[in-house]
């Protein structure tokens, strides 16, 4: 409990809105550049790595709820739980020192992508009838055309897009964290995993 209060000190609290804004700004930028990735969790992973799993989970949860319920992109709101898990995993990877080696960074991204796809599929199938309303639906169509059920097709789409997206996300976060001055990083509660 004391650890949690430490994790949520003022610095973390101030970082969370910035992280959410980064999620949204980068996500929208990537979309407008028509790059076939989401890159909507950079802030979430960053908070997880620097401030621990709970802060990361909260960031993911609130980011998706705000992005969705504000009307900016309604599709995000139901996936708040997925974003929370992404933040949680980022915290655990950070704690485990996974961000010290580039190949572990990529592996962390891959694992996160697989877990995200697994959790997203039932939500997508139940809330949105298995479609994403975006270009990714080409993948859904392909899997449905092969005769897969709604849930498997959704999972197929997720497994094809999420791991790559999360691997790129983790690599970007790794580069960013390396670019931060050490004295700044040391102010964060979980700096031990990344310095």
């Amino acid at each position: 409990m004391a650890r949690m209060r430490q994790d949520f000190g003022t610095l973390t609290l101030v970082m969370i809105p910035v992280a959410i804004a980064i999620n949204i700004a980068v996500g929208q930028l990537i979309y407008s550049l028509k790059i076939p990735l989401y890159l909507d969790s950079i802030g979430t992973v960053l908070v997880g790595v620097l401030a621990g799993p709970w802060a990361g989970a909260l960031t993911g949860l609130l980011a998706n709820l705000i992005w969705g319920l504000s009307g900016l992109n309604v599709a995000y709101a139901p996936f708040a739980a997925v974003a929370a898990v992404i933040g949680l995993m980022a915290g655990l990877f950070g704690e485990g020192g996974w961000l010290r080696r580039w190949w572990k960074v990529i592996l962390a991204g891959l694992l996160t992508g697989l877990v995200a796809a697994a959790i997203s599929a039932p939500i997508s199938a139940y809330v949105f009838g298995g479609v994403t309303g975006s270009g990714q639906d080409v993948l859904v169509a392909m899997f449905r055309g092969m005769g897969l059920g709604i849930l498997p097709a959704s999972f197929g789409q997720g497994v094809t897009s999420d791991p790559l997206d999360k691997m790129v996300t983790y690599l970007l976060v790794w580069l960013i964290v390396r670019g931060l001055p050490s004295r700044f990083k040391a102010r964060f509660p979980r700096a031990g995993g990344v310095v």
């Binding site: 949520f8 949204i24 930028l29 709101a77």
Partner: protein
């Protein structure tokens, strides 16, 4: 305060004058109803009979319809095309060249679109008629943690600033010769010089914000007094509880019927 990127449309209407939590309770109950109500037509009925009149009462009908269409159409199109055309083992009802629309797929698409329509429009009604900061104040008055309120309100305020920053960095890098059009590989290479400067410059002013907040006794415990007064009434309070009580009833009805 600066509105940030919220969809809020200021109007002089009864809907706008309702307490934020009343509108939130309605959105929450409609969310439950979207999953609990049986049959594909009930969602459309609720949309026509409940949400459209409320939007009209709130004088936000054109904006409401525009936002709903923008959000729901991509899903509707994908649903009818993909599930309609590619439903495995379905019974065809219409032919489009070599492809056929299947009855089960269309029924599914109809039901799913209706549900998405109901969920999206109820939250859009809330967003269009409620100032986000007032909603957060109302929640804080009921015991919502102030740290969460701070996060939500600050995020809404700073997102446009960050979007502006992203655009500025994009323009600056483009003017230095960064290729952002063309093949996928070229566009992917543009990622690094766009994302990393944005994030690094954003993070470094966090320290200043933290110091500014601490100087304003942000971490101090105890209730905080708000400058804003939210008009409420006994009638609205009763209405809120009535609306929220509907939710479990709808759930039970949905399971039983």
């Amino acid at each position: 305060m600066s509105q940030g990127f919220s969809l809020y449309l200021a109007r002089d209407s009864g809907l706008h004058r309702l307490h934020p939590l009343t509108k939130l309770s309605l959105a929450a109950t409609l969310l439950v109803a979207a999953f609990a109500l049986p049959g594909p037509w009930s969602s459309y009925a609720v949309f026509l009979l409940v949400l459209l009149p409320l939007a009209a009462w709130g004088k936000i009908l054109p904006g409401f319809l525009r936002s709903v269409a923008r959000s729901v159409l991509p899903f509707a199109i994908s649903l009818f095309l993909i599930q309609g055309l590619l439903w495995p083992g379905g019974s065809p009802v219409a032919w489009l060249g070599p492809l056929s629309l299947k009855a089960e797929g269309l029924a599914f698409a109809l039901a799913s679109t209706g549900r998405i329509l109901m969920i999206v429009s109820s939250f859009l009604l809330l967003a269009l008629s409620t100032r986000p900061d007032l909603l957060m104040i109302a929640l804080a008055q009921r015991g919502f943690p102030s740290t969460l309120s701070y996060i939500v309100v600050t995020t809404i305020q700073i997102v446009p600033y960050f979007q502006g920053k992203a655009r500025a960095i994009l323009d600056a890098q483009r003017s230095r010769g960064l290729e952002t059009e063309g093949g996928v590989r070229r566009r992917l290479r543009a990622l690094l010089p766009l994302v990393v400067p944005l994030v690094l410059s954003s993070i470094l002013d966090i320290e200043e914000r933290a110091i500014a907040l601490e100087a304003r006794a942000f971490g101090r415990r105890g209730t905080k007094t708000s400058l804003q007064v939210l008009p409420d009434s006994r009638a609205q309070s009763v209405l809120r509880w009535a609306i929220l009580a509907l939710a479990p009833l709808l759930l039970v009805a949905g399971l039983v019927l």
